[in-house]
């Protein structure tokens, strides 16, 4: 016979909150990494965790404005990043070195982002409980 499952009654939100950082380094459509990464962010957000989302290297292209995928017959998932705010996910960071190499600025993105240097992001990274790469 199975043991009864112990369900704690005082399962208040705010308890057991961990700091999760998602590190996005891939362009949006050439591989599935970006879309899968976004889905993981949304799932984590649904569990009321402390979520940070970082875009670096080609990952910055995930949130570039003006994407129109009709002709390639793929889902344009860039508007979904704007839904993150609804999950209280508003810590969105882009790496300064990455956008400078690509001639981009903070105004080129579909969501408000904070631009930080690699050194600053490394500091944030070290504070996390869990880091997930995509």
């Amino acid at each position: 016979m199975a043991e009864p499952v112990d369900i704690p009654e005082d399962d208040e939100p705010g308890e057991d909150v961990k700091k999760f950082m998602f590190v996005n380094r891939r362009a949006p459509y050439g591989t599935i990494y970006a879309l899968e990464g976004l889905e993981m962010v949304l799932i984590t957000g649904a569990f009321d965790q402390d979520v940070s989302v970082v875009f670096m290297d080609d990952g910055v292209f995930q949130i570039v404005k003006g994407q129109d995928t009709k002709a390639v017959n793929m889902k344009n998932f860039s508007p979904t990043y704007r839904a993150l705010e609804g999950y209280d996910i508003d810590k969105l960071y882009v790496e300064r070195e990455s956008i400078e190499a690509r001639g981009l600025t903070a105004e080129d993105f579909v969501v408000p982002v904070k631009v930080l240097s690699a050194a600053e992001l490394a500091g944030l990274m070290a504070e996390q409980h869990v880091i997930i790469s995509a």
């Binding site: 290297d57 292209f61 129109d68 995928t69 190499a101 690509r102 001639g103």
Partner: protein, 100 residues
């Protein structure tokens, strides 16, 4: 001959190797993540602009649109083609080397 490149120049060496192998008169088509190479004002621009002067460079329009790269951001001398243009390039240019 025709060379195709479908990887980002920031992440892979496919384009760099392609440019090392391309010879005078060759055509090069950039598609999928390869289209990130055609943008002006980025760290790869000088090399790609030099290649555009030396070879016939093409980029697939639908992949530019998907990635939010506007035609006015494309380096001068690179021609934008559609899927039919891709087929024409393959048909007209002898062997096709796909740098994956």
């Amino acid at each position: 001959m025709l060379h195709t490149v479908n990887k980002s120049p920031f992440e892979r060496t496919a384009l760099a190797t392609c440019l090392r192998y391309a010879r005078e008169g060759d055509s090069i088509l950039l598609y999928e993540d390869g289209v990130y190479a055609v943008r002006k004002a980025q760290s790869t621009t000088a090399d790609v602009a030099a290649a555009a002067a030396k070879f016939k460079l093409f980029v697939l329009g639908p992949d530019l649109d998907a990635r939010g790269v506007r035609p006015d951001q494309v380096i001068d001398g690179i021609r934008i083609v559609d899927y039919g243009g891709f087929v024409d390039l393959a048909a007209e240019n002898g062997p096709v080397q796909a740098w994956l």
